[in-house]
């Protein structure tokens, strides 16, 4: 007979039931501890998610709950796998059955060699504890630690509710730099300007128009600002190449027409010129010449003087157009001489020159208009607020950051502002050149000549020579320790920017240097 068994019950069976019960209780107890640890960890994770701005309230709470549940599950698994002390279970059953250590003794003495005595002990123990269920011996008790579980969760809720996430939201821009509405407005304006361009007459103009159309389509798609700027830069570079290839003048003839403001006889000519209708302008001049020859138009002294002044100003505006300038100056001289026939002849020659250069000037105008459109687009993309000193309408470079210099968003001069190597000594000087839109709007416009007639006097020294001397002096000072290393590179880039163009003809050396970058 098996001494550890009496009737249908046995020590092993009772112990098995107790073990299962204990595993379940361990799982519950450890899961509570896991939940407590998970609550603390979840609070930390949720708070870090919230404070780091990695997620919203929902994300933070979801992370906390996930950690909480994970720890609880781990605790339950660990509890179920925890080792179980049979003697402890047996003593618990003894206590529940008021068996006075009978069952615990039976468990320990089951393997005793005195089998007869062991049988007595076991049967006595089983008789006392058989009716006692495992649930009575091992009642479910939720650990006291469970009451602390809500504390970390409440702390997390307090953090989420009370601690704002603002500093992190500020670090990550929530909205794009250019809104879809702004893109749409830019696309609309650009497309409108595109429609106002004259019909292309050359393959290059057709290609250019296609590219501009592509840019307009790009604007329609709310592109990345960087992509749009890249495209604009590419097109600007192409315009510049075309302008050089076509030998187009830097200034538009239409702008030069603004110089014709005094003479009544030249009004039609000025009007055609302003509209870019150079053939018509030439026709106006030819008609004017004809009228003068036929005596239909007999200007008085004041009119001759007005014609002379207008033509002389126009000649100055056409500095890059030698032939036109020469014809213009001749006409001005003829008007100054108040010789009607001479003036008629000079106007006829000017008309011929204009007819000869009409296509080139029209191309030049188109290029200038395209460049103006791109500059305008670029300015709007840069979201200039007009707060900088350098421009009234805002410019592409200011970006609302105020004047360049210390504390600004543009590179400043810092200690290098005290540099004595040249004239660039004012620390508060606007370093950004004005970008003037050459696109003419519907209203009245005013132009300001950048160089006065008094300053027109050409320098006695070659620019390249002056530049070399300037750079030599600057390079010597750049080696001083007082010049920060970062600024040395900046200054060298500046000198590279104003380096004279070696490919330019010698006559151009006398021109004014390019503005500072």
């Amino acid at each position: 007979m098996n001494p550890s068994k009496t009737g249908d019950v046995s020590v092993a069976a009772i112990l098995g039931a107790l073990r299962r019960r204990q595993r379940a209780l361990n799982a519950v107890r450890w899961s509570v501890y896991g939940l407590l640890a998970g609550a603390v960890a979840g609070c930390a994770v949720g708070a870090s998610v919230w404070l780091s701005g990695a997620g919203s309230v929902g994300t933070a709470l979801a992370a906390a709950i996930g950690v909480l549940a994970g720890f609880g599950l781990l605790g339950a698994i660990a509890g179920a796998a925890a080792p179980i002390n049979d003697l402890r279970l047996a003593r618990a059953l003894d206590r529940a059955a008021d068996a006075e250590d009978r069952f615990a003794s039976a468990v320990q003495l089951a393997d005793h060699p005195r089998r007869a005595r062991v049988e007595l002990v076991v049967s006595d123990a089983l008789a006392r504890v058989a009716a006692t269920p495992a649930e009575a011996a091992l009642p479910l008790r939720v650990p006291r630690a469970a009451r602390w579980i809500p504390v970390p969760l409440a702390a997390l809720a307090a953090i989420v509710l009370l601690v704002p996430q603002s500093r992190l939201e500020a670090a990550a821009p929530a909205t794009p730099e250019i809104s879809p509405d702004e893109w749409a407005a830019m696309h609309e304006d650009f497309a409108r300007q595109l429609a106002q361009l004259p019909q292309p007459q050359t393959p290059d103009e057709e290609d250019l128009l296609k590219d501009l159309q592509a840019l307009a389509d790009l604007l329609k798609q709310n592109p990345d600002k960087k992509d749009a700027l890249t495209e604009i830069a590419r097109l600007s570079e192409r315009l510049e190449r075309q302008r050089k290839a076509a030998g187009a003048q830097q200034r538009s003839m239409r702008s030069a027409a603004k110089a014709l403001s005094s003479s009544e006889a030249l009004k039609k000519f000025a009007s055609s010129l302003k509209q870019g209708a150079y053939t018509d302008a030439a026709g106006n001049l030819r008609q004017l010449s004809k009228d003068m020859q036929e005596g239909k138009l007999a200007p008085d002294a004041g009119e001759f003087e007005a014609i002379s002044e207008d033509l002389r100003r126009l000649a100055e505006e056409l500095a890059s157009e030698d032939e036109l300038q020469g014809a213009c100056e001749n006409a001005a001289d003829a008007a100054a001489s108040m010789n009607r026939e001479a003036l008629a002849e000079a106007l006829r020659r000017l008309a011929e020159q204009m007819e000869r250069n009409a296509d080139r000037m029209r191309q030049s105008d188109n290029l200038a208009r395209c460049r103006s459109m791109l500059d305008e687009l670029k300015r709007r993309m840069s979201q200039c607020t007009g707060q900088c000193k350098g421009c009234k309408d805002g410019c592409a470079q200011c970006e609302g950051g105020g004047a360049a210099g210390k504390g600004g968003r543009k590179p400043g001069w810092g200690s290098a502002a005290k540099w004595d190597g040249g004239s660039i000594t004012k620390s508060d000087e606007a370093r950004v050149p004005d970008v003037v839109s050459t696109f003419e709007g519907p209203g009245a416009s005013t132009s300001f000549p950048m160089i006065s007639p008094e300053e027109k006097a050409r320098s006695g020294r070659d620019y390249a020579e002056l530049y070399a001397e300037f750079v030599h002096k600057a390079e010597a000072d750049l080696d001083l320790e007082s010049v920060p290393v970062a600024y040395r590179d900046y200054l060298r880039r500046y000198f590279n920017a104003i380096r004279p163009d070696d490919s330019a003809p010698a006559a151009d050396n006398a021109e004014e240097p390019a503005p500072a970058p």
Partner: protein, 333 residues
Amino acid sequence: MPEELSLERIAEFKKGYSLLSAEISKKIVGYREVIDQVLTAMMAGGHVLLEGVPGLGKTLMVRTIAEATQLLFHRIQFTPDLMPADITGTNIIHDDEHGGRVFRFQPGPIFANLVLADEINRATPKTQSAILEAMQERCVTVGGKTHPLPEPFWVLATQNPIEMEGTYPLPEAQIDRFLFKIDVRPQGEEELLGIIERTTGDAAAEVKPVLDREQIGRMQATVRQVMVAEFVQRYAARIALGTHPENTHATPMTRQFVRYGVSPRGVQSLILAAKVRALLADRYTVSCEDIREVARPALRHRIIRNFEAEAEGISSDRILESLLESVAEPAAV
């Protein structure tokens, strides 16, 4: 080989115990706990030291036990001039049948089943130690010859705790041989009324013998057959070790007031006495509660207190109390 433990033997044990207890109660009023402890010690085969002031009925109790058990009973009144030979016996010259003279051992009063050592602390240590061998080895050696004592053999000693003049405290070696030290305290009003009723009238209570020597021997054998699980043994060992100031199980009170803890003999006493309690509770195994129940009488006289404890009046019982509260049961729930 003794008969194996069985339900019948346990019933027999309980019956004999109950009979003896009831018979003693005929003459002894009250003192249920004292009687239980004395009988427990006797069933465990141990000696008992009864401590109490005179007139509490200690001697009467022992005499009554002797009457109820049909055992050979001797009483030794310990006095300062008592000699060891007066207890153990001695060799005296006898005339033999041939007219010659020979030395023959004359047994002393120790040769009995039940020896009452009355006021044992009045004898000198030399005399006290005369019964050392008898108590432990259950034999007496006189003149180089060892004489076994009859079985069963118990020494029930009494001593007066308050009358210290002219007394000799029992040496540790001897006091350790007592299984129990029982404090006999004055009784209450109802018990005193019963004493008056029974002892001042003309009708004396008669005590009949209810157990003989063989029966007692079987009962003692039954006690030895009770099993003790390892966790109960461990609990008893922890309690014993807790009385040692340098042990890890020692309580702060033990460390402060105890000079020496109990000996291994103390653990043996603990377990044996607990076995008796287990049988009386219809169990075949000893429980931790049995250990706690017998811990005070079994261990109180084995704890040697230091001067500080004596000066502050810290009793051994108080030290044991703190120990029982602090020592954890193995695998306690």
